[in-house]
């Protein structure tokens, strides 16, 4: 959020189970317009190769949400 306030493209990644908390938190802090990428839950317990795959996918999706070229 501090990055976004400073003009750096930034967004939030949350798993689906934490989406309501993330949305409420963004609104409560006046950052409701910040892009929110929701990924499948859970992330914990994923094997390292799975984490890597999902991280790459999330970065691509977040970049698209932010309109940032990759």
């Amino acid at each position: 959020m501090e990055l976004a306030k400073g003009g750096t493209p930034a967004g939030l990644i949350a798993t689906a189970a934490f989406q309501p908390l993330a949305v409420s938190e963004l609104q409560a802090l006046g950052m409701g317009g910040l892009p929110l990428l929701v990924i499948d839950h859970p992330l914990g317990g994923e094997k390292p190769e799975g984490v890597l795959r999902r991280a790459h996918q999330a970065v691509e999706e977040l970049a698209a949400l932010l309109g940032v070229a990759r």
Partner: protein
């Protein structure tokens, strides 16, 4: 006294009030005392401050914790007016950044703020630190602890499954408040150890799990009792020990155990040093699961390679809090913290 809260017109019936509050997600599931203006004003009359004064924004929804809102919830919880200064001091402590209330509210871990009251005011209001102090039967304990939870729900917005993401929660999330059993404490009480005067009344909030029982019916020495305490405190599944910079452990010695330990001329520092040295797990055990691989340890611990090396659960003996509470019997308790919150103490400075 000018109150600012919305006024709700409801039938003059306990059932109707309870139902209306439940429908609005304003209660913890248990019946409440209707927070009428008269009751709220009586609560506010016990503290020296304006009802509109805020102690700060309370996470996770960052709503202002005004004294009036705290008083409304204290009434709902069943507090007597003389309980309210304790509630206020506890909220002041919880809003200290070191306590990390956002983390305590939103985590998946079953943490609740344990409120420990020291000093003469505990005796004034009947805050109980003797037999069954963590359980039911004592109005000050039950209602002050419940008021804290209702404030966390209604002011902070920490609703289970939405903004409080605790996987299971905990019975300690209903109410978790005790006094220290100073009369049977062979050492200095917690608040004096922390630098407060003996005649001050002080609230300490500790972000802890529900108490873990320490059963030792056979030891007749300090080392025997404290070995059992230490063994109970070091388990692979506990949060404590993974983020060492924040990990704290509360040891609650029952008065009989405390007497045995003190009888061997152990001071509080000796107890803490012993538990620090013995509440440990081998590196090889820590590698089996828990948070292995994502731990945040000091450099010296990260460099350990011998699987037989015994590693502590907190960074130093100073991270072990020690109180005496409970009644007759050969039991004590350990309360691990959530490992991302530091205990904070506040005197009852607003007592009118």
């Amino acid at each position: 006294m000018t109150l600012r809260s919305e006024v709700l017109e409801l039938p003059d019936s306990p059932d109707a009030v309870y139902q209306a509050f439940c429908e609005r997600d304003w209660c913890d599931g248990l019946p409440i005392i209707p927070p009428t203006a008269e009751r709220v004003e009586a609560m506010l009359a016990t503290v020296a401050a304006d009802p509109g004064e805020s102690l700060g924004p309370m996470p996770p929804l960052w709503r202002e914790a005004t004294l009036e809102k705290l008083a409304v919830n204290a009434v709902m919880a069943g507090c007597l007016p003389e309980h309210f200064p304790v509630v206020v001091a506890a909220v002041e402590a919880m809003l200290d950044p070191a306590f990390n209330l956002y983390g305590v509210q939103a985590t998946t871990h079953p943490v609740a703020p344990l409120l420990i009251l020291n000093g003469p005011y505990a005796r004034t209001i009947g805050m109980h630190g003797g037999s069954g102090c963590f359980g039911p039967g004592f109005r000050a304990n039950a209602t002050i602890g419940r008021a804290i939870r209702l404030i966390m729900l209604n002011v902070g917005g920490g609703w289970p499954g939405r903004h409080d993401m605790a996987t299971h929660g905990s019975p300690a999330k209903f109410s978790y408040a005790i006094a220290e059993n100073e009369a049977q404490n062979p050492w200095s009480p917690l608040h004096v150890e922390l630098g407060f005067a003996p005649d001050q009344s002080v609230v300490t909030v500790f972000g802890g799990e529900a108490p873990h029982n320490v059963n030792d019916h056979v030891s007749t020495s300090a080392s025997g009792i404290l070995n059992t305490v230490s063994h109970t405190a070091a388990t692979l599944g506990s949060n404590v020990k993974w983020y060492l910079s924040q990990s704290q452990l509360l040891v609650v010695l029952g008065p009989e155990h405390a007497a045995t330990v003190a009888g061997d001329n152990f001071g509080k520092d000796d107890v803490k040093a012993f538990v620090f040295e013995h509440a440990r797990l081998p590196l090889g055990t820590l590698k089996l699961g828990g948070m292995w691989g994502i731990q945040d340890w000091p450099r010296w611990m990260m460099a350990v390679t011998d699987d037989r090396a015994l590693l502590p659960v907190v960074a130093s003996p100073a991270e072990i809090y020690l109180i005496v509470a409970g009644g007759a019997g050969k039991h004590s308790a350990v309360v691990p913290n959530c490992t991302f919150s530091r205990a904070v103490s506040r005197p009852l400075s607003r007592l009118r």
